[in-house]
Symmetry: C2
């Protein structure tokens, strides 16, 4: 059931703290960022951050990789592309939604 998966990812991004967190990871690019660095930037409790990261990982939007004692977090771009694709497909299935294609071509 693709819709269930999409809903889970949307819900994961539908929290300001997590959306902000995810944005940090997206901007960090392939290098990613360690958990501690994210915590300093966001200024939230470590346990809270861990909780949010876990949710993003569960939905497949974020991946993690250990480097010694630190955990590097990265945005999972294919997952995001899949989600955008789902939204775009739903939107453009029957209706005239040309603006997205125009933006992409520009």
């Amino acid at each position: 059931m693709k819709l269930e998966q999409a809903a889970k990812q949307l819900e994961a991004l539908g929290n300001p703290t997590r959306l902000n967190l995810y944005r940090l990871l997206v901007r960090a690019g392939e290098a990613g960022r360690p958990v501690g660095s994210l915590q300093e930037t966001l200024g939230i409790a470590a346990s809270t951050l861990s909780h949010h990261l876990h949710r993003l990982v569960l939905t497949g939007l974020v991946t993690q990789e250990r480097q010694a004692t630190t955990l590097i977090c990265r945005a999972n771009y294919p997952a995001m592309n899949g989600l955008i694709g789902f939204l775009a497909d739903e939107c453009c299935a029957d209706a005239a939604c040309v603006s997205r294609a125009e933006e992409a071509a520009a």
Copy 2:
């Protein structure tokens, strides 16, 4: 704060019932669909549907227009395009996300 607005819209779509509901409206196109018709299709209580519709309207993803005693609901395509744009911009700001452009061009 654009991020707050995006998070609210994502949260609104992040519920399976609402995502399904929104998909129905998207597929209905400009004609839209009356609340009662949506209720029959979804098979949920009228009060529950009203609650979910209200949330979608509040975030700007859905618009409503009265026609006699029935309420016509329509997907707000510009809002969806804005949300997709937000996600795409965040995603492609610093990273190599060429697949979306490729898909759009195909």
